[in-house]
């Protein structure tokens, strides 16, 4: 498994675990359908920061960055490429 795949599975596992939706598709909008609420938004931030050793700043809190599993993985890849 390469780094990107590992990243993908960690993100997917976490989101499925906190939302209790195993059937979640990679492009399902996790904010739109009431799948995720404000409680989980902060949980997601803390999880991503700790798991991937990054710091998410205020200007990165755009909905598009955290819209679905695909965009989160893309955001992480970009973030890590800048480290």
């Amino acid at each position: 498994m390469n780094d990107k795949q590992e990243m993908y599975y960690k993100v997917r596992d976490f989101i499925c675990k906190v939302t209790r939706k195993q059937e979640l598709k990679d492009d399902d909008d996790i904010f739109e359908g009431g799948i995720i609420n404000s409680l989980f938004a902060m949980q997601l931030v803390l999880f991503l920061e700790k798991q991937f050793n990054i710091r998410i700043n205020g200007t990165e809190l755009k909905r598009d960055n955290f819209k679905n599993i695909n965009t989160i993985v893309k955001f992480l890849e970009e973030k890590q490429s800048k480290l």
């Binding site: 976490f14 906190v18 209790r20 904010f31 404000s38 409680l39 938004a41 902060m42 949980q43 997601l44 931030v45 803390l46 999880f47 920061e49 700790k50 700043n57 205020g58 200007t59 809190l61 755009k62 909905r63």
Partner: protein
């Protein structure tokens, strides 16, 4: 932090309070305010900048030390304690989501007490339902125009910097608003408790705010900025409730040994033993929970969010029951302001409401497990 260091720090906070707050706490409650001098003293002791890094003039304390501060302050004055939560929430928002310019500008002033911060989210129709805020922000070139009202703003009467939440093109957004003529401040009197927490209702009339005063981005106001502030607030309230519970236990244990009825000390009566036992065990359980949450928060664990909700729920419920039992044990003595018990009783009820009602906690906590 080791047990020794924890005890040392607790003693440090407690001695500070004994010298600087305890003698005046009742006066502040009766007058509904306290002097700016007190704020500077709290700052000098390192409490106001507790969650601010040293680079920005703060004392950069760990989560357990912050908990200890709130526990000890609540024993003496929950009103004075509330400035630590209020300014602390604003500081946290700036530190967490602000840019470097905002951090350099505001954090040293919040840590020193030169600037008092206040969190302005609630409105007439938006309490637990924060998503129903009506306050509006309209963008015009390089600034925003804010219009609307905020309610129940702790330290709102004396704040120099308000963290205000408004809808901007339908997106919830957080703004830093400096005290100025377009923010009308109305004092809120007649409170059940925390009477010196200088609560105000605010009106914003065509309030011009630079776009450099947004925290984060448009749309990040509730889910990230307000959520992280309230999470910090809940953590501090959980510890404050622990302070109330522990103080009730301490007072009652002392009282039941001395007070005699029917020819025996109260502690020899089995029904009193039952009440004291429940108070002690419940307080110890809350302490364990709060300590665990401190550890989770210190480690930046995602589960700290739900566990902080749980700690505040458990602690505020326990404080209500314990303060009520404490009054029952002290009898008529507990019903007058000779003992702080009657104040604890009033404040415990408020703690079951602020930073989310117990009912909202039940929705959130149950929802996170189902």
């Amino acid at each position: 932090m080791s047990d020794y260091n924890q005890n040392q720090y607790q003693r440090y906070v407690s001695e500070f309070l004994e010298s600087n707050i305890t003698p005046y706490a009742n006066k502040f409650e009766k007058e509904g305010s306290f002097d700016r001098e007190i704020i500077y003293k709290i700052s000098e002791a390192g409490f106001l900048g507790a969650n601010i890094p040293e680079d920005y003039g703060g004392s950069n304390l760990d989560m357990l030390q912050i908990g200890i501060i709130h526990e000890q302050f609540a024993r003496v004055s929950s009103s004075i304690r509330s400035i630590l939560t209020s300014s602390g929430m604003v500081a946290l928002a700036i530190l967490r989501w602000g840019n470097e310019k905002q951090r350099r500008k505001w954090l040293p002033r919040l840590a020193s007490g030169e600037c008092v911060g206040a969190f302005a989210l609630a409105e007439q129709e938006a309490g637990s339902d924060a998503g129903n805020i009506q306050m509006e922000a309209v963008r015009e070139k390089n600034h925003y125009i804010l219009n609307g009202q905020k309610k129940w703003v702790t330290m709102g009467q004396i704040a120099d910097l308000y963290l205000v939440f408004a809808k901007c093109n339908g997106n919830y957004t957080a703004f830093l608003v400096e005290k100025n003529k377009c923010v009308l401040v109305e004092k809120q009197d007649g409170l059940l408790g925390l009477r010196a927490s200088m609560i105000a209702n605010l009106s914003f009339e065509n309030c011009k705010v630079s776009d450099g005063n947004i925290l984060g981005v448009e749309g990040a106001g509730l889910e990230y900025v307000a959520s992280s502030c309230l999470d910090y607030g809940r953590y501090t309230v959980a510890w404050a409730c622990l302070g109330i519970s522990q103080a009730c236990v301490d007072i009652c244990v002392n009282y039941v040994k001395k007070r005699r009825q029917f020819g025996a000390a109260l502690i020899e009566h089995q029904l009193i033993q039952q009440m004291i036992t429940r108070m002690i065990v419940s307080t110890n359980a809350v302490r364990l929970y709060c300590n665990n949450v401190a550890r989770l928060r210190e480690n930046g664990e995602a589960e700290s969010i739900v566990e902080t909700w749980s700690a505040k729920y458990l602690s505020s419920k326990a404080a209500n029951e314990i303060a009520s039992n404490a009054i029952q044990i002290l009898g008529a003595e507990g019903c007058c302001d000779k003992h702080p018990i009657e104040r604890y009783f009033r404040e415990a009820k408020i703690f079951e409401i602020i930073e989310g009602t117990s009912q909202l906690h039940e929705i959130i906590i149950a929802g996170s497990y189902s």
